[in-house]
Subunit: 199 residues, 2 copies
DNA sequence: CCTCCGACTAGACCTGCGTATAGTAAAAGT
DNA sequence: ACTTTTACTATACGCAGGTCTAGTCGGAGG
């Protein structure tokens, strides 16, 4: 769960985020209460105060609907160095957050990596490009994915075969990597769903 | 100016957009009034009603701060067919609006075009990619630009020379175009500042 | 066992804010 | 010349909605 939130508080936060995104403005205390079936606005108000104390939102006292969600969890974090073994996809660790609207690349959790080198050049993925990846632990055959190999992240085309998983570059000058079943299996961090290039 | 809006209405709309973007929630009628120095909330309310009637925003009667900006004018319009000769960069003509935050690609007015064909493939601009262009009427030598030739828009590298302006593709299979000074000069619509690829 | 905390109900206070009524004044159509 | 539109001021009504006081109930911790 999100850091230090009770299940109920996380639900409330999520509702507020969805409502705000869907309507263009945040809900009132009573609208939150109604959504959860609370008979008293006090219940919703308490949760919202808790969320505020924990730094998830800010509000202006006495002003209806005047609440802002902080730590938006929206937008796509551009991750710099990914530490080995750790499942670090939190926005807090982002070098930068790309200001794309949620669902720009579909549904799910996304992150971005800056391409170093030209190993995927024949797929027209050039050095400096930002590759957008959907966070998931497995890739279908032939998909381009960010793979954790030892303590380095590389972008490769993943092709499982009889002799193990093959990690193919799309540059003839770069040789493919074969991870045999006896080795540590390659860990897929996410599959490529898009690309952003800023000149 | 934006379609059918008076100068004042456009100012009000812009303020509401900025306020909403900056605070995470829309302003009240009185906050709009205060921003413009109106002594009566009525003045702001009238403008907001006018904006609503013209389809720029929607609001829920009686509910404080419950207004949603439609036709956001934020984001980058993806233009489909660009009619010949007309300076059409308005959001209204957009096939789709890319949900990027303003200034994602810097300051200025931007639009997007979907790449057809692979004439720029060696610059790793592939078919189906969305090229982001900054709207301006001139390109420096060597820049990739959207150029209006006759009544078609093409993406080419612009290189002015003695014999006229050369429009170079980055695909050896596609021959360059030379626009000699006696011809109609090519009209630059914008220069490329980025690229977005959605798989 | 007792106390704390989370998650609520019930009811009420009071003010912020949308909205209405009634104007004024200048610019722009027609 | 007249109506219409734009752009406001002044004042007020009434209710939506933030917030308060005063509780209940169950589960976790010491």
């Amino acid at each position: 769960m999100t850091r230090g939130l009770t299940a109920r508080q996380a639900q409330v936060l999520e509702f507020i985020q969805d409502f705000t995104h869907g309507n263009g403005y945040p809900p009132t205390v009573r609208e939150v209460a109604a959504n959860f079936g609370f008979r008293s606005p006090r219940a919703a108000h308490d949760h919202m105060k808790a969320l505020e104390k924990k730094g998830y939102m800010r509000s202006r006292a006495g002003r209806p609907r005047a609440l802002e969600i902080l730590q938006s969890r929206r937008g796509i974090p551009l991750l710099g160095k990914i530490a080995a073994g750790k499942p670090i996809l939190a926005v807090e660790d982002a070098e930068e957050v790309l200001g794309l609207e949620p669902n720009f690349f579909g549904q799910g959790r996304f992150f971005a990596l800056r391409v170093r080198g030209d190993s995927m050049i024949e797929d027209h993925i050039a050095e400096g490009d930002l590759v957008i990846l959907k966070a998931q632990a497995d890739a279908r055959s032939g998909e381009v994915a960010a793979v954790l190999l030892g303590d380095e992240v590389t972008l490769k085309r993943v092709v499982p075969g009889k002799k193990g998983v093959e990690l193919k570059a799309s540059n003839p000058a770069v040789k493919d990597i074969l991870v045999s079943p006896s080795d540590d299996p390659p860990r897929v961090l996410g599959v490529m769903v898009g690309l952003v290039r800023k000149n």
